[in-house]
């Protein structure tokens, strides 16, 4: 019985960074901007939060700085994709590569280390708040999407930008807002990893979680509640593989690939088709 409780608690913890990043991705992608930069955004948030918490001694200040970093990096993605109509996947890839390098470079300069920040004391961590926030954000996101003017515009811009433009919606502005929001949320997800779950930033500490979040978003058909369920499922798989490390006969690698295989299966339409927002990945040219 206790083992099951431990496993479930661990699953919720593992799902938290995924859920935050996936909800971030949801805003961006429902507005029509592909965000495979989630991994890089998480890394930016994780590194900045840990660094600023180290210097300020206050995790909230660290979190705020992390969010600011995420928004800033997302803004770069937005400028490239929305303003300059760069290919969204390529721009996202660039940001992912960039933020594999930037934290390592900076930590070398700040802390004379090869990619890690100094250990933070227990009192300067926030192990609970991001979890609560992540799960509270699920109904909030549902409400924003389905019951507010901003949500309506967001969906319109992602499904049919021409129509939205004709109706007087500023397509670029809505997309910028969505992309920056996704930067903020992904950064909180990253911050949870560095100043919540562990107590420092380590080189490439997201280890592909940005991509699993993306997988959860697709698996969840770009909807908040389904995405949360997907995150919990993937978080459970991760918790299972941690618990089973060295104990069971089943190799961890097989559990680790579950989210990826499931995503491919869903994308191929074998179990329920997952339809992307219609204008996803298509830059919009204003008609005037």
């Amino acid at each position: 019985m206790t083992i099951i409780l431990i496993l479930l608690a661990s699953a919720v913890r593992q799902a938290t960074p995924l859920l935050l990043a996936a909800l971030g991705g949801l805003y961006s992608e429902r507005s029509g901007v592909i965000n495979i930069a989630l991994e890089g955004l998480m890394l930016a948030g994780a590194f900045t939060s840990a660094t600023v918490t180290h210097y300020s001694g206050n995790p909230w200040v660290g979190l705020a700085a992390g969010i600011a970093a995420g928004v800033l990096v997302a803004l770069v993605h937005g400028v490239a994709c929305i303003r300059f109509k760069a290919d969204q996947v390529v721009s996202g890839t660039a940001i992912n590569i960039l933020f594999l390098g930037v934290p390592a470079l900076l930590s070398g300069a700040f802390f004379e280390s090869t990619g890690a920040t100094p250990q933070l004391p227990q009192g300067q961590l926030m192990p609970i708040a991001p979890i609560v926030l992540a799960f509270v954000l699920v109904p909030v996101t549902w409400y924003v999407l389905n019951r507010t003017p901003f949500g309506l515009r967001l969906r319109a811009v992602g499904e049919n930008p021409e129509a939205a433009d004709t109706a007087g919606v500023n397509v670029a502005r809505v997309r910028f807002a969505a992309v920056m929001l996704s930067g903020a949320l992904a950064a909180i997800g990253g911050a949870y990893l560095s100043i919540g779950q562990s107590s420092l930033f380590a080189r490439n500490m997201t280890a592909g979680r940005g991509f699993i979040a993306l997988a959860a978003l697709i698996f969840g058909k770009w909807r908040p509640v389904q995405t949360m369920l997907a995150c919990l499922l993937f978080g459970f798989a991760e918790a299972l593989s941690i618990q089973m490390q060295g104990v069971s006969q089943v190799p961890v690698q097989f559990i680790q690939i579950v989210p990826y295989v499931l995503t491919i299966v869903v994308l191929a339409g074998f179990i329920g088709h997952s339809r992307a927002p219609r204008a996803l990945g298509v830059p919009y040219q204003e008609k005037r």
Partner: protein
């Protein structure tokens, strides 16, 4: 004239990226000029600098070509990383299993394995796209993780030497080794791992060029990439071209195994790729998805990888991660222009 114009924009992107990089170096607390002198200078010494630059450029030529071929068909293959991992493991597996076979048989067999394994790993997302409309970007990302996990599983549980703390397989048979260039080039020491995979990479560039611009299949692939609706209307089975392009793309990425397994480490080494598949995207973009451009861009990134090691050791604060930062910025700059065409193409399709 057209050639010069094609060269101009990538050059501008590189210069701009180095300028931004200089600001980063300055912010970190080092002198940009001396850092860059070290970065480029250490890649140009004979024989070590140039030898290692070419050695690092070799896998990038393969992955750059891989991404470029897919691009020409309108596909973004982010899966070169997974394709090269699966190919490297399978090649090592053949080299281990048939270790006693003679070289004249084993080398071609390993070569073929690299092509087929990479090609298969590329074909799967191709089929998923052509048959079910699954976006190749997402499926190739997922296939990357699956490839790495599978290779690491088989290495750890079935092919690791007893008591070895490193995650690597037992060595392949001697018959599967290919020669280092030091054996043929006078004055070039054999300790430098530059091997026959490098001329193979150059040959691959030539073949890809001939294939894309001098054969019917190549034409059909480019037509599918340029305008799928028109290609379909013109009688081209676009689905088949997508699968073909992804298979060729994967096979090219798979050839990294020739350099890594047959020419360098003589075994599968877990996590050997320094993001070659992703750098391949930068290489293809910077090289304008043209085999000639791919060679030039690979030489640049190869030099950066080599020089990065020296920057790591001989500067006060800057680490080799500077290379990654430069790479990211170069892609961002190139993307904002080069892919404007790609996206405008998509718009035509959607109208």
């Amino acid at each position: 004239m057209k050639f010069l114009r094609e060269l101009l924009f990538p050059l501008a992107a590189v210069v701009a990226a180095f300028a931004v990089g200089a600001v980063v170096v300055l912010a970190v607390g080092d002198n940009p000029l001396s850092t860059y002198t070290l970065l480029i200078g250490s890649a140009l010494t004979w024989p070590d600098g140039i030898g290692y630059t070419l050695f690092y450029a070799t896998p990038l030529i393969f992955t750059g070509l891989a991404v470029a071929v897919a691009f020409r068909c309108g596909l973004l293959n982010i899966g070169a990383e997974g394709q090269l991992y699966i190919a490297a493991f399978m090649t090592a597996w053949v080299g281990i299993t048939l270790a006693s076979w003679p070289a004249w048989l084993l080398v071609p067999l390993c070569f073929l394995t690299a092509l087929l394994a990479g090609g298969f790993w590329g074909a799967v997302p191709g089929v998923l796209k052509a048959r079910f409309g699954a976006h190749e970007v997402i499926t190739t990302i997922m296939m990357n993780f699956i490839a790495v996990a599978l290779a690491s599983y088989f290495t750890q549980y079935h092919y690791k030497p007893q008591g070895d703390p490193i995650l690597e397989t037992v060595p392949i048979g001697e018959g599967a080794h290919i020669a280092r260039l030091g054996r043929f080039v006078p004055g070039f020491p054999e300790r430098i791992p530059l091997n026959l995979a490098f001329p193979v990479a150059l040959l691959a560039c030539l073949l890809v060029y001939l294939f894309l611009w001098r054969t019917r299949w190549g034409y059909e692939i480019r037509a599918t990439g340029a305008n799928p609706a028109a290609a379909l209307y013109g009688g081209i089975a676009t689905g088949k071209q997508i699968v073909l392009a992804m298979s060729i793309s994967g096979a090219l990425a798979g050839l990294v195994a020739v350099n890594e397994v047959l020419g360098y480490r003589y075994r599968y080494y877990d996590g050997f790729s320094a993001g070659y598949g992703f750098t391949g995207i930068a290489v293809a973009l910077l090289g304008r998805n043209h085999p000639g451009g791919v060679i030039l861009a690979s030489l640049l990134f190869g030099a950066l990888l080599r020089g990065g090691l020296f920057v790591d050791i001989f500067t006060e604060h800057v680490s080799k991660d500077l290379v990654m930062v430069l790479q990211g910025i170069i892609i961002l700059f190139v993307a904002a222009e080069a892919l404007f065409r790609r996206s405008s193409r998509r718009r035509i399709k959607s109208v």
